[in-house]
């Protein structure tokens, strides 16, 4: 039996680590060379959610932007979930992630969203404070990750997958 498929989009400012998170989740690889993404890369992976069954995640790694233009909006069509990505060392990228979520609501009213705050390996340089994250947790799941070490990455994708499977 074919697992049901759900499209999820990675949204966030440039350089926050969206492509690295996908590479870590899909292929368990990491490169510390920054290469900007143009357009979109689509990958898929089936996940076993136990009682919730199998789910195929079709992950769209979209070029980092601080605002959603018409082009980005076209990429969002058909998405069920959003992985909003911020860089803990750049507080502005957290604001961008929240802005992108609000903008996406015009085309994706009911999409599930999980916030990833990446670069946990550089936590001593984080500008994002724990109290800020505690506040955000009141409204959506927030998961700290490191694409470099892999910490939290699987958990973040699974969290969104579970919400999509329910």
């Amino acid at each position: 039996m074919t697992a049901p498929a759900r499209k999820i989009c990675m949204l966030g400012d440039f350089g926050v680590g969206k492509t690295s998170l996908v590479a870590r989740y899909m292929r368990n690889t990491f490169s510390d060379t920054y290469l900007t993404t143009v357009g979109v890369k689509v990958d898929s992976k089936e996940v076993d959610l136990g009682e919730l069954g199998m789910l195929k995640l079709v992950v769209w790694d979209i070029a980092g932007r601080s605002v959603l233009d018409a082009l980005n909006m076209s990429y969002l069509r058909g998405a069920s979930g959003l992985l909003l990505v911020a860089d803990g060392t750049r507080e502005a990228s957290l604001r961008t992630a929240i802005d992108l979520l609000l903008q996406s609501r015009s085309v994706l009213e009911d999409a599930e969203a999980v916030l990833i705050v990446n670069k946990l390996d550089l936590v001593e340089r984080w500008e994002v404070g724990p109290s800020t994250l505690a506040g955000l947790r009141q409204t959506m799941p927030v998961i700290e990750t490191s694409a470099l070490s892999g910490d939290g990455v699987e958990q973040a994708f699974l969290e969104l997958a579970k919400r999509l499977a329910r």
Binding site: A5, R6, K7, F14, G15, Y34, L35, T36, V38, G39, V40, K41, V42, S44, V58, A63, G64, L71, S74, Y75, R77, G78, A79, S80, R90, A92
Partner: protein, 520 residues
């Protein structure tokens, strides 16, 4: 993409050329599917986009993921989609081709690479700019923290200087007692040789202690205030004897030969600041003895043509020529590296010499000993009226007994002043604070008021000011442990006629009292 523009008309040849050009660049691949994503038809090269020409299902599967959740009867454009072989393509869904739909792929690798290069530069510049801003903010924070630390250090330094000055200042009052009582003992009953020896040792070591305290005070007031010169007639032979007594045993303990002598080639009595002269000599000789391990230390003083020439020569470790300037800097590393000492003494010597309008020269080579040569002009030509100091205590003559009101809270000092002033022929009254002084002086005005500045409660200066304000016209001599021009100015502004600094001796006191009560 949904907007339609009016296409200009070209000749068939041009249109053919353009079509061929675009076709070659885009390398289009058209895939036609039925409504169940079964491949019906195919035009173009699927391998160019990473699809297996022999496995149409795989291509269908991948493209199906791309249009997941989208309506298949619409026209959808997805620019720059990453293909299975890594190339970038513009993917267009062309719905409405009943009963299925078509997917058109156009190669976009060249355009992708150009955009990527451009965006990469822009994004990296933005990231670096962000890091730069953060680094600048951190530097600002560090600078502001450093500034705060600098202010804390400056405050701590001021406190330290104040502490040193206070300690040194506090030494002066007990030393006044010690010197005074030594003088009393000297002038009283005939003494045996051993008692005279003991008294001499006490005087010598008290002097040494006083010099040490003065060094500290000099250091503390280094920055701004110049200290006050106190010119007196100096008995150089007596001074030399004192220094010999102080350093001869120390040099002998180290197996060094110690010689000190004075030549008096000018008939006039030298007028110098004896305290500072003593400080200069003690510092220089102590240094010479400390840094000489074998050989000897020689000190030669010569009073000639109104100037005192001092030479302190040793056969010690010497100082390299390139370090000659540094040795006069406080806490220099030259002396510290040589062993003991904080390198304070020579900096004080230089300052004292400068204060006394003199000059200092150093001749030395590493390993060949050192020779400091100092010339101090007589202060008689610099300061018009020496404060006091004669070979003999002047006798005060008067047609009537003059009265003195002594205001001091230290009973030892009061007793000493009472003894001295009585010896000088004064009728003495003593009170311990400023309030009592004002009351007593107004009730029975004394000829002379001798008041200590540092009193409990109201200061001596306040008492002086109040008395002058209430019309007291007698002579006022202020006594203080603070030897600064500023303290002197404050006391004189308050209404004092003379300002004496502790420790005082009977000669200085006698001269002051003589000035206070001139003969009729």
């Amino acid at each position: 993409m949904s907007e339609r523009h009016e296409m200009p008309t070209f000749s068939a040849g041009v249109e053919h050329h353009v079509a061929q050009f675009l076709f070659e660049r885009a390398q289009p691949l058209l895939l036609q599917f039925d409504e169940n994503w079964q491949l019906v038809n195919l035009h173009g090269d699927p391998a160019r986009f990473g699809f297996d020409p022999d496995n149409a299902d795989a291509a269908a599967h991948q493209l199906r993921d791309l249009f997941l959740g989208m309506p298949l009867d619409a026209t959808i454009d997805l620019p720059f989609v990453h293909m299975p072989n890594g190339r970038s393509a513009h993917v267009h869904l062309l719905g409405g081709s009943e009963p299925g739909f078509q997917v058109l792929l156009l190669d976009a690798q060249g355009e992708h690479d150009r955009q990527q290069a451009q965006q990469q530069v822009g994004n990296e510049a933005a990231l670096i700019s962000g890091q730069k801003s953060k680094a600048i903010a951190q530097l600002r924070q560090i600078r502001s923290e450093l500034e705060r630390q600098r202010m804390r250090l400056a405050e701590a330094n001021a406190l330290k200087n104040a502490l040193i000055a206070t300690l040194s200042h506090d030494f002066r009052t007990p030393l006044t007692s010690i010197f005074g009582y030594l003088h009393l003992l000297d002038t009283q009953a005939p003494q045996s040789a051993s008692v005279r020896h003991a008294l001499r040792a006490l005087r010598r070591n008290s002097n040494y202690l006083f010099t040490l305290a003065e060094n500290l005070l000099e250091y503390a007031r280094a920055d701004t205030r110049s200290s006050m010169l106190e010119p007196v007639r100096v008995d150089l032979e007596y001074l030399v004897e004192d220094l010999e007594g102080m350093f001869q045993p120390l040099a002998a303990d180290q197996g060094l030969e110690f010689t000190i002598g004075v030549e008096l080639l000018d008939a006039k009595t030298p007028v110098l600041d004896e305290l500072r002269l003593r400080q200069i000599l003690v510092n220089l000789i102590a240094n010479a003895v400390r840094y000489t391990k074998k050989g000897g230390v020689g000190v030669a003083l010569r009073w000639q043509d109104g100037a005192l020439s001092i030479e302190v020569r040793d056969s010690g470790i010497g100082i390299a020529e390139e370090l000659h300037e540094q040795v006069f800097v406080a806490f220099n590393r030259v002396r510290q590296a040589a062993g003991s000492g904080a390198g304070l003494g020579l900096s004080i010597v230089k300052r004292l010499v400068t204060q006394m309008h003199g000059s200092i020269e150093l001749q030395s080579r590493l390993g060949e000993g050192s020779c400091f040569h100092i010339v101090l002009p007589s202060l008689a030509s610099v300061v018009a009226a020496p404060q006091g100091g004669t070979e003999e205590t002047p006798a005060l003559e008067s047609s009537r007994i003059r009265s003195v009101l002594v205001v001091d809270d230290d009973p030892d000092i009061c007793y000493l002043l009472d003894t001295w002033l009585s010896d000088l022929g004064f009728r003495v009254r003593i009170v311990g604070d400023a309030g009592a002084a004002v009351e007593s002086a107004l009730a029975d005005p004394p000829d002379v008021l001798l008041v200590d500045v540092e009193l409990p409660g109201l200061s001596g200066n306040t008492a002086v000011f109040r008395l002058r304000a209430k019309g007291y016209r007698g002579h006022i001599v202020t006594l203080s442990a603070t030897p600064t021009e500023e303290a002197r100015r404050v006391a004189l502004n308050a209404g004092a006629d003379q300002y004496l600094t502790k420790p005082i001796n009977i000669e200085v006191l006698a001269r002051a009292m003589q000035a206070a009560t001139p003969r009729p």
